[in-house]
Symmetry: C2
Subunit: 417 residues, 2 copies
C-alpha cells in the first residue's frame, strides 16, 4: 500500500509553522509497512487542494490530510474531500454529543458545532484533547482519505489510539518493525557496521540520525504476524550484536524512559545539578510518567553563588579553575548526591553559546559528571570544529548525562574513549 | 512572482527528520514578496524529483530545492536539475578552491571534490559553514532553479547572505508580514474579536493556534517595502488594540524571549522553584541566549523533603494542606526568591498525570505563584473536563508562569479572571 500526506494551511506554506505533523504521520505509516510516496503542503485554497487530492489518488491508496478542521477554519478541506470522495457532509450525532459534553454548561457557537460535520459513512476518530474529530472516508474505488487535526497535541493521541489501529486492520499481511536506538555512535560509523545488511529488502535495515542520536529500523513483512516476527528476529539480533553497548534500547521511546525504568526496578534515586543545560535534563527525566519515584530533586545553578550555596562548590575552586571545568562538574555531581541523600548525582557545566566562549574555553565545551556510591565519572564534549547551535549543545549534554547513568546502571564502562 | 519549495530526502518522507528547511525558505521568500505556491517532499528518487521539477516549472517562476548536496549524497539532485534546466554539470574552479581551503592539509576525497560540480553558468552561493555550495541556475525560458544544502546550520547563513540578496534584485513588489502573539486567549475567542477583519484580502488577518498559545498574522502586499509597511500598520494596530493585554509580543519568537529581554532591560533577576513542571520552566528561560544575566538559579523539588530543604516549606504545612496547594506554591515562590536574593521568584506545584490524581486534587490541577518585592500572585489551572496529556499540562503551566512575570513587569494585572 502506498500513501501520501497533504498538510493544509497557509501558515505552513509561509513558514510560520514548521510542518511536524507530516513527520508524525509518516512514522506511523512506516510502522504499519505502508510506503509514503510523497508529502506536500497546500495553502488554504480549495482549487489547489482539490488538485493535490486528485493527483494523490491516482498514485496512492491512502491520502492523509492534516490541519484545517478547527472551529476557526472555514470548511474548505472537509468540503473538498467530500467532493473528491463523492460523499456529502452530514452532522455526525456522536461527534455532536461529544462536543456538547466538552462545552458542558458553556454556550457552543455555530463555529464549534460545524466541527461535527463529517463525510457521510466515514469512520470517526474521536479527539481526546480538543474539539475537532478526525475521520477516514472511502472513495468510490476503494481508496481512503484520512482527515486529521493539525495541533500535534490532538494529532498524536488520535494517531495512536484511532488511526493506527484502524489502518492496521486494513493493511494486508503483517509487518514487524523494530527501532534500535543508540547514543554516541555517528551515523557514518553505524552505517559502516551494517553496510552488508542495508541493501536487503526483507527484512530491511535502515539507519537514521536525529540531532544527537542514531537509530536503526529493522522491518520484516510476512503473511502473518508470527511469520513477520520470525523473519525479523535474527536480523534484529545481528544489528544489536554489531552495534554493541552503544544500543540503549529497542523500541524504547528515548533514553530517559530507559533510565527511569531501570532506576525504578532497582529502587534507586537521582538528583541533578545543571548549569549550561539549564534544567533540560531534569525536564526530560520528569517528562517520564512515574519519574517522581526516582527523581528526588534538581538544581539549576546558573550563577556561581548558587553553585556554592546549593551544592557546596568552594568559591576558591570556582575562582581558581572557573565554573566550566572538570573539577566543578565533579563537585556539582558529588554535592547534589550528598546533599539529597540519593544514589546517583549528575553535574553538568559548559558553554552553550553563542556568547561566553574564549580560546581556552570555547563555545561547545561541556563537562558532564556522574557520581555513584563508589566512583565519580567524567565525560567531556569538545567543540567539533564548527560552532554548533545552543540547543544542540544543551540537548547533547543532557543526552550524555542520561547515557552515563544508563551505562553505570547496566555495569558498562561509563566514560567513552 | 511565484515560487515552489521542493525538499529532497527519504529521511524527510519517512518522518525521521522534520522538514524545517521549507519553513526557513518560505519565510525568506515571503519577506521578498514572492508568493509560495506549494511545497513538497520527494524521496531520493530521480524520476519523482524530475516530475516535481517539471510540474513546478509549469506554474512557478522559481523553484527552490533543499538537501542532497553533501559529500555522502549521490548526485541525483544536481544531475536531475541540470537535465531539467538543460545545462551540463561542470567543476566550478572557485568552489573547488574553497573546498581545498576548507580541508587545508587534510586529504580531500573524490566524494568531497564532487561538491564543486555545478550546472554551467549558475550563480554560486558559498557555504560559510559546511562544504557544499548552493547555486541558482536559469532555465531556457527565464525561470530559476535554486539548489540549497539541507542542514539548517548551512542553509540559514546561505539564505541570509547569498540567496536573499540575489532574489531581492530579481523580485518585484514586497510583502510585510507580522505575527501578533498572545497567551491565555482561546482561538475561538480571538477569532470572534477579529471576525470582521479576517475576510479581507490586503492586509490579510489570519488566526492560528499552537498547543498553548494563539497567534494572529497580519500580511500586506505592496509595490515597495514602504507601501506594504504603510498598508500593514493600521491593521496591525487594530489587532493589537482588540486583543489587548493578552498580546505578549509582535514578531517576538516566544514568551521567554520577551521576559528575558524585559528583565535584562531592568537589570532584574529571577529564580524558579518547580515541582510538576520538573525543570521545564528553567529550561525554557535558559534556552534564550544571554539568560545568564537574569537567571540566578532554579530548583526542581519533586520530593517533599527537597521542598523543605531547598525552599524552607514547613513540613507541617505540607502534611496539613498537601504539596499541591496554593499555600505551598506561594511558599515555593517566596522561598526561592528570598534564598537567592533575586527580584522575582516563581513556584509551581501540581499534578501533571497520568497518575497521582484524586477526586479533591485531580490530574491537571496546578498552582502557579509569582513573588515580587511587594506582592505574591497566584494562578490556578483547573482540569478542563477531559484529561490533558502530561506534556500539555507541563507546557501550559510553564507558560502561565512566564505570562505572569511578563504582566508583572509591564504593570498589568497578573491574575486572570
Amino acid at each position: 500500500m502506498k500513501a501520501e500526506i497533504i498538510a493544509v494551511g497557509t501558515e505552513l506554506l509561509l513558514g510560520h509553522t514548521i510542518n511536524s505533523d507530516a513527520a508524525h504521520v509518516a512514522r506511523m505509516l512506516a510502522e504499519l509497512g505502508i510506503d509514503v510516496f510523497g508529502s506536500c503542503v497546500v495553502g488554504d485554497n480549495a482549487e489547489r487542494l482539490e488538485r493535490a487530492l486528485r493527483e494523490g489518488l491516482r498514485q496512492s491508496d491512502i491520502l492523509v490530510t492534516t490541519g484545517g478542521l478547527g472551529p476557526t477554519d472555514d470548511d474548505l478541506i472537509k468540503e473538498t474531500v467530500a467532493r473528491v470522495a463523492g460523499t456529502p457532509l452530514e452532522e455526525d450525532p456522536e461527534s455532536l454529543a461529544r462536543l456538547r459534553e466538552y462545552f458542558g454548561s458553556r454556550p457552543m457557537g455555530a463555529n464549534q458545532r460545524k466541527q461535527a460535520l463529517l463525510p457521510r459513512g466515514c469512520t470517526v476518530f474521536a479527539n481526546a484533547v480538543g474539539t475537532a474529530p478526525g475521520c477516514a472516508v472511502e472513495t468510490g474505488d476503494g481508496k481512503l482519505i484520512v482527515m486529521l487535526p493539525g495541533p500535534p497535541s490532538e494529532l498524536l493521541p488520535m494517531l495512536r489510539d484511532g488511526v493506527k489501529p484502524f489502518l492496521a486492520r486494513r493493511a494486508r499481511g503483517a509487518i514487524q518493525s523494530h527501532m534500535v536506538r543508540t547514543f554516541a555512535l555517528g551515523e557514518g560509523d553505524g552505517a559502516l557496521l551494517l553496510a552488508d545488511l542495508t541493501p536487503k529488502a526483507n527484512p530491511s535495515v535502515a539507519t537514521y540520525a536525529s540531532d544527537t542520536e542514531m537509530f536503526v529500523r529493522v522491518t520484516a513483512k510476512g503473511e502473518s504476524p508470527e511469520e513477520a516476527a520470525a523473519l525479523a528476529a535474527p536480523t534484529l539480533e545481528e544489528v544489536r550484536r554489531r552495534l554493541g553497548d552503544r544500543v540503549y534500547g529497542v523500541d524504547a521511546p528515548d533514553l530517559q524512559t530507559v533510565v527511569v525504568a531501570e532506576l525504578r526496578r532497582r529502587g534507586q534515586t537521582l538528583a541533578t545539578a545543571e548549569s549550561c543545560t539549564g534544567g533540560l535534563l531534569a525536564a526530560r527525566i520528569t517528562d517520564v510518567p512515574g519519574a517522581s519515584a526516582v527523581f528526588q530533586a534538581g538544581v539549576v545553578t546558573y550563577a556561581n553563588e548558587a553553585k556554592t550555596r546549593l551544592l557546596g562548590v568552594p568559591p576558591e575552586l570556582l575562582a581558581r579553575v572557573g565554573a566550566v571545568s572538570p573539577e566543578v562538574a565533579r563537585h556539582m555531581a558529588e554535592g547534589v548526591r550528598r546533599r539529597h541523600g540519593v544514589d546517583w548525582g549528575v553535574g553538568i557545566t559548559g558553554i552553550a553559546g553563542p556568547g561566553g566562549g574564549s580560546p581556552e574555553k570555547p563555545v561547545g565545551l561541556v563537562y558532564i559528571a556522574l557520581s555513584g556510591a563508589e566512583e565519580t565519572w567524567l565525560r567531556v564534549m569538545r567543540p567539533t570544529g564548527r560552532v554548533m547551535p545552543r540547543a544542540w549543545t544543551r540537548s547533547r549534554a543532557a543526552g550524555h548525562a542520561l547515557d552515563m547513568l544508563r551505562r553505570a546502571l547496566q555495569g558498562l564502562p561509563v566514560t567513552l574513549d
